[in-house]
């Protein structure tokens, strides 16, 4: 694993970027304004793009620069723009139907981070390495994953669900930059592209929902049960 052989300055830079992404996911968790959400998501994507570039520079993986640029363009700019446009068209400003108050969601999020840390430490332990960056990467990756799921559970607006899913995907991307920077380029490119298609599909389906079901909140989508 290359990460064991690079200088401490680089590892601390990676750690900082990973932690910034984690904090940004808490910003999303703590705010009910959709615009804040989308901006925090965009910023998180840019942070991850920075991480890709840093890993590419210190680990000598030139192809990661391509990934960094694409991440910034797709995840950091295009996706937030598409979602903003969607929110504007549907006249959505904030999540009205959240199940919990922001403060309680934050507490739940913290508990999830602790769970992620326990799992990360267990895995790090099984690899017989004392390196903290691996545990940190695993913790951030799993935390973003769990927080994304938490956002999807606690909120009922369709846009919040999309954002939750994107946070989950960001978590996977963040972790894989540190753990498996050599993961085949083609795969990462296709996944980026796939994400774009998914968001476009979501956009179309949301308009169907608005048109035919008259709502985009899962709280009022109660026709299909049992």
């Amino acid at each position: 694993m290359f990460i064991l052989h690079i200088n401490p300055l680089a590892t601390s830079l990676f750690s900082m970027l990973a932690i910034i992404s984690l904090i940004l996911s808490f910003v999303m968790l703590g705010s009910h304004w959709l615009k804040n959400h989308i901006y925090a998501f965009a910023l998180e994507s840019w942070t991850i793009a920075g991480l890709s570039a840093a890993v590419g520079y210190f680990g000598h993986y030139p192809e990661l620069y391509v990934i960094a640029i694409l991440t910034a363009l797709f995840r950091g700019s295009l996706l937030p723009y598409l979602i903003l446009r969607l929110a504007d068209r549907l006249h959505l400003e904030r999540e009205f139907t959240a199940f919990l108050k922001p403060s309680s969601s934050l507490v739940l999020g913290t508990i999830l981070v602790i769970i992620a840390f326990v799992v990360g430490r267990r895995i790090g332990h099984s690899l017989h390495t004392a390196d903290t960056i691996i545990v940190l990467a695993l913790t951030c990756m799993l935390s973003l994953k769990l927080i994304g799921f938490l956002m999807m559970i606690l909120r009922s607006e369709a846009i919040s669900h999309i954002l939750g899913l994107l946070v989950i995907e960001n978590g996977i991307f963040l972790g894989s930059q540190i753990l498996v920077p050599g993961m085949p380029l083609l795969l990462e490119l296709v996944i980026l592209f796939d994400l774009l298609i998914i968001v476009l599909t979501f956009g179309m389906l949301m308009r169907y929902l608005q048109l035919h079901a008259g709502t985009t909140s899962s709280r009022y989508l109660q026709k299909l049960v049992g």
Binding site: G59, G164, I168, G182, P184, H212, L224
Partner: protein, 484 residues
């Protein structure tokens, strides 16, 4: 072989382009049927000519395994049947006549994604192919553009995408386990992941497997991740329901089986198999509970799909030659039988103008032939002899007796009985129960397009129940040896 695979992919591509280019409904439906027949022939030829072992083609890009080919054959069979049935069924949706070419293009595209996935030698690309099946089929589920179908399509895509993201994380972890031995960059293939498994740390492998199990399990419809399935299956048009149930679920099951193979190579077979058996047994429990108290005809069939995917999961979870052979046989039998059930449900739904089984009364009086086939199909799907599912379920039960998870055999037997009673109780009321409510009499004549596909499923189903062909048994044995 390469030519046949290419044919399997290019025929649908060609059909989609022609359908969209010409844009005439009649032309679209026949062209789609022609494409379906061509792919059925190609997949049959492929399974007959390909040697029954693992083959890697096209610079390690394609992987042919007996199980993969078997699933492709199941997809092709269901696609052909659904295309035939769709001609009659979709003509009834007079409001949507203008959008029919779009429907057939999507149907063909849906089949195409399912023809691609089983051949992918790279687990990541396999994941993407499965993701594409979701996107294409979400539009098919929401095709009728009513409140319910929009809701079902939304639920489908959001739950399955979230589930699949877990599978992606699992794949990243598998790849990471490989970097510990093969260095930071190596090509991600099923074979590589398998070869490094023995030396990888067990907790990491287990975590990775559980993530992929939950992820692809969502797509397979294993409980408790099944919540999208009854909605998507019941709200899409009937041919789409048949494709989702008979073809798509098997395609996703392939991923679970392959990751289980990696885990076995890593020496954690028991944990992996037990996890799969637990999910399978849980699916049976959930399906049993919902089948007993169901009112929607298509929802009943959807929960039955949860049940049968649970049984297939149990088969692969029990393992051994008998378990894998039983599960593979069950895949084909279920694909045939569930198509029959959805075609029948679609016919009755249109005839009685309701999805509710309480409105469908005296089925045999109004539709003697179709009603009888549907009723026989219901007997078959509950696992009663002399139909195919009986054979495969017995094989899986026998495999369970020899496995360490013998408790699951008891659960399976008990729930099969519950489901048998619950399922046939609904049919008893539809056939022999009180007369139609408010004199709700069906007067629609069913076209041969809608009844012939039912015959085409019932006949092979009966043959497969009376006679488990020895060549199929040999094929399954070889598949089990490759899979193990």
């Amino acid at each position: 072989m390469g030519a046949l695979i290419l044919c399997l992919w290019l025929v649908p591509v060609l059909a989609i382009s022609l359908i969209l280019l010409i844009g005439r409904p009649r032309f679209a439906e026949y062209l789609n049927l022609a494409a379906a027949s061509a792919t059925l022939v190609a997949s049959l030829a492929l399974i007959l000519t390909a040697p029954h072992r693992k083959i890697v083609l096209a610079d390690h890009f394609l992987l042919l395994t007996p199980l993969g080919l078997w699933i492709v054959l199941c997809v092709a069979i269901v696609y052909a049947l659904a295309s035939l049935y769709a001609i009659g069924y979709m003509r009834l949706l007079t409001d949507e006549a203008r959008r029919l070419p779009g429907f057939y293009a999507l149907l063909c595209g849906f089949a195409l994604t399912m023809f691609i996935a089983p051949f992918m030698n790279n687990p990541g690309i396999y994941w993407i192919a499965i993701d594409l099946t979701t996107i294409v089929s979400a539009f098919l589920v929401g095709f009728e553009r009513e409140a319910e179908s929009a809701e079902a399509a939304w639920k489908y895509i959001i739950i399955v995408s979230a589930g699949l993201s877990l599978a992606l994380l699992g794949i990243v972890f598998f790849y990471w386990a490989g970097t510990l031995q093969l260095g930071p960059v190596y090509s991600m293939t099923w074979g590589h992941l398998r070869s490094i498994a023995a030396l990888s740390p067990k907790p990491l492998l287990l975590l990775a497997f559980l993530l992929t199990l939950v992820g692809f399990g969502t797509k397979v419809g294993l409980a408790p991740m099944h919540t999208w399935l009854p909605d998507a299956h019941s709200e899409g048009p009937a041919p789409v329901s048949a494709m989702l149930s008979g073809a798509l679920l098997n395609t996703a099951m392939l991923g679970i089986v392959r990751f289980l193979g990696i885990l076995k190579a890593g020496g954690a077979a028991l944990e992996g198999q037990t996890a799969l058996v637990v999910l399978g047994a849980l699916s049976l429990v959930i399906a049993g509970l919902f089948i007993v108290r169901q009112t929607g005809a298509k929802r009943l069939m959807a929960y039955s799909s949860v049940e049968h995917m649970g049984i297939v999961a149990l088969g692969f979870g029990f393992g051994g030659i008998l378990g894998i052979a039983g599960a593979m046989y069950h895949m084909l039998n279920h694909a045939l039988n569930k198509s029959l059930m959805f075609f029948g449900a679609g016919n009755m739904m249109r005839a009685y103008r309701s999805k509710d089984m309480r409105m469908m009364r005296r089925v045999l009086k109004f539709y003697p032939v179709t009603g009888i086939i549907w009723l026989l199909g219901a007997v078959a799907i509950t696992g009663a002899p002399p139909f195919g599912l009986f054979q495969s379920e017995i094989a899986i039960l026998r495999a369970g007796m020899a496995s360490p998870n013998i408790w699951a055999v008891a659960v399976m037997v008990l729930l099969l009985i519950v489901i048998f009673i619950g399922f046939l109780q609904h049919f008893r009321q539809m056939v022999f129960g009180a007369g139609p409510v408010n004199d709700h009499r069906p007067d629609m004549r069913l076209s041969p397009w809608m009844t012939v596909p039912m015959w085409l499923t019932l006949i092979p189903l009966t043959v497969l129940g009376l006679w488990w062909p020895p060549f199929l048994w040999h094929f399954f044995v070889q598949a089990a040896q490759v899979t193990r």
